[in-house]
């Protein structure tokens, strides 16, 4: 995999990032001087109460949003200096998204959904189909290639979405509440799958969640409150601190 950086440059580095929405009275500081560094191969969970800025941080990392001030370096590259199209290319080649609501295209088969990122890469159809099958097999969806999302269970839909994220051969998977719409049993399956991808394929995973059980799969938890990083550490450290203060 060519984009595995051999040096020690962090994959993701937010430096004093501030994001302000609105003006004057209606001004909202969604992120307020946030520093986050994520190394290649890490599995990080971003947590916090709603309105803490964790989703904004996720969008920022996914190059879907840009900071009001501060810097975001992806593999050492200033994202703010990239054009709209270059950011699309960055998402296409280095990032994979997994959403709470799955966000599969309706009335489109699992296989075609997984092919989507590769279409934009301009990959020939046969190669694309082959890779999509492989990705679906990896998430345990062999035999469901031609099912529409409506014919798949929630857990299967999320697996298809993960397969789609994998299909782009990403360096980082960004998962926004990936288990938010699933019951405990399915949630565990999805988390095991993500953990597997992290351990076996060395894909960096950044996940937003509000469930401690899910965050426990991560190496590190970043706890945000009011747009600021309040503390960071292993799940045990962060949660025990939370319980003490509660």
């Amino acid at each position: 995999m060519p984009h595995r950086a051999a040096d020690t440059t962090p994959v993701i580095e937010l430096r004093n990032v501030t994001k302000v929405y609105g003006h004057g009275e209606a001004e909202v500081r969604a992120m307020d001087g946030v520093d986050i560094t994520i190394e290649s191969g890490e599995f990080v969970a971003i947590m916090g109460p709603s309105g803490s800025g964790k989703s904004t941080a996720m969008n920022m990392i996914g190059c879907l949003d840009s900071p009001t001030s501060g810097e975001y370096l992806f593999n050492g590259v200033q994202v703010a200096k990239l054009s709209q199209d270059q950011r699309a290319l960055l998402r296409r080649n280095y990032l994979g998204f997994v959403f709470q609501g799955f966000n599969l295209l309706a009335r489109t088969t699992a296989l075609e959904n997984v092919e989507l990122p590769m279409i934009y890469k301009g990959m020939p159809a046969t190669e694309r189909r082959e890779k999509a099958r492989e990705a679906l097999a990896k998430v345990g969806l062999s035999g469901r290639e031609h099912h529409d999302p409506s014919e798949l269970s929630g857990g299967q839909q999320q697996r298809a979405a993960i397969a789609r994220a994998l299909a782009g051969n990403p360096q980082v998977i960004l998962a926004d509440e990936p288990t938010g719409n699933l019951d405990t049993k399915l949630s565990v399956e999805i988390m095991e799958l993500l953990k597997d991808l992290n351990e076996r394929d060395h894909i960096t995973i950044v996940m937003v969640t509000h469930e401690e059980d899910m965050a426990a799969y991560a190496h590190r938890v970043i706890w945000m409150v009011d747009g600021k990083v309040e503390r960071t550490g292993t799940p045990e450290e962060v949660f025990s601190h939370g319980r003490q203060s509660a």
């Binding site: 996914g62 199209d85 990032l95 959403f99 009335r107």
Partner: protein
């Protein structure tokens, strides 16, 4: 990539079949209307040209009256006379033959049958000029012509009206107050490009016409056949020169007569149909515009509806241009489908109409190509704005959209 985009567009179009059909209806109707109008117009132009050619391209007409052909001008200038006919034949080498022609309309009566018809006073040379054979009986004899005997040659329509399918030769027809023996039947010619029935006619010797119908020695029109190896243009100039001389028109004075050849007549007639075709096509083209607006409307709805889909595409790495292209191609494919259906429909309508109107079905590949390109252009123009809106969506907002 472009083929992939086209495939995706077709998929998206068929995902919402009914709406797609309604969307393209405007384009279909617009294109079909333009194609049908132009094709039928072309057909009737061709028909006119063919009719005129049948009449003889070497035929010219001399009429009194200055300037343009048409009503209102004739009364002021002196009429033509029989001497003019002879002079044209005898003095001009470019003239093969010529015939006088006076016309009026009246009732022809036979027994209890009567019919409104045209009565023309002329002589045997007229049938030569316009190349009109007699299929039954005979033509005028010189003696009949010089004495102005009341004999007549009738057209097929008059025969049908008065005699049915029986033999009319030797019967007597009453034309106003003249009793007239039928001596010949003309070959059926059908409708002229004016839309009048050419077979609805009775020919009598010009002398009989002058004496018993109008009571004057005037000739209202002369038909001239140019000599075989002479162009009508040259004949036209020679006729004009001779007529000016005969009518004593000084240098610098305007003609008080005019000479027309069939080419001019043809171009005048096709000119009329062309103007009509143009007008009708312009009206039809407006509906194409309306069709385009319909496509824009639906594409805008589609962009709003598929906001989330656009968000997903942007998130997985589609560039703004790729999204723009997708929606643009969708609009273009939609309008091209409309265009193709419209072309087929328009040509079918034109074929049916041509069949009913008894004109040649003349599809013009040029117009078909223009209609096709135009419908594609409508897609590009009216698809661009919605597509640009899709491409400029904020992916975060788009993903949050329900």
């Amino acid at each position: 990539m472009i083929w992939e985009t086209v495939r995706l567009a077709i998929q998206a179009i068929f995902r919402n079949t009914l709406r797609s059909i309604l969307t393209v209806l405007g384009i279909v109707i617009g294109v079909a209307a333009v194609i049908a109008m132009v094709t039928v117009g072309q057909g009737s132009s061709n028909q006119v040209t063919a009719d005129v050619e049948k009449l003889g391209t070497n035929v010219l007409m001399v009429m009194p009256g200055a300037g343009r052909m048409g009503p209102g001008n004739n009364s002021v200038s002196a009429a033509l006379e029989m001497k003019d006919v002879e002079a044209l034949i005898n003095q001009l080498s470019s003239v093969r033959t010529a015939a006088p022609y006076n016309q009026t309309s009246l009732n022809a009566v036979y027994g209890t049958e009567d019919t409104r018809t045209s009565l023309a006073g002329t002589d045997a040379r007229y049938l030569d000029v316009v190349d009109w054979p007699i299929v039954m009986g005979r033509g005028f004899l010189p003696a009949e012509e010089s004495s102005g005997r009341a004999v007549c040659i009738i057209g097929e329509t008059v025969r049908q009206e008065l005699f049915g399918n029986t033999d009319p030769i030797g019967e007597t027809v009453r034309l106003k107050n003249v009793s007239c023996d039928v001596i010949g039947l003309l070959e059926a010619k059908g409708a002229s490009s004016f839309g009048t029935d050419q077979d609805d006619i009775v020919l009598i010797p010009i002398k009989a016409f002058q004496r018993r119908v109008t009571g004057s020695a005037d000739v209202s029109m002369i038909y001239v056949a140019a000599a075989n190896n002479v162009s009508t243009d040259r004949a036209l100039v020679e006729i004009e020169t001779l007529m000016r001389e005969r009518r004593r028109i000084g240098a610098g004075e305007e003609d008080d007569f005019n000479v027309r050849d069939m080419k001019q007549l043809a171009s005048m007639l096709t000119g009329i149909t062309d103007v009509l075709t143009g007008l009708l096509s312009a009206v039809a083209a407006v509906s194409l515009l309306v069709g385009g607006i319909g496509i824009m409307n639906i594409m805008l709805v589609s962009v709003t509806e598929r906001t989330r889909e656009i968000g997903i595409r942007l998130a997985v790495g589609a560039t703004g241009n790729q999204v723009l292209l997708q929606f643009l191609v969708e609009a273009v494919v939609l309008s091209i489908i409309g265009g193709v259906v419209g072309i087929i429909l328009g040509l079918s309508l034109a074929a049916i109409a041509s069949n009913i109107m008894v004109i040649p079905f003349s599809p013009d590949p040029m117009i078909v190509a223009i209609a096709f390109l135009f419908s594609a252009a409508v897609g590009v123009i009216f698809g661009y704005f919605p597509a640009r809106r899709a491409a400029r969506l904020d992916p975060i907002e788009a993903l949050r959209h329900q």
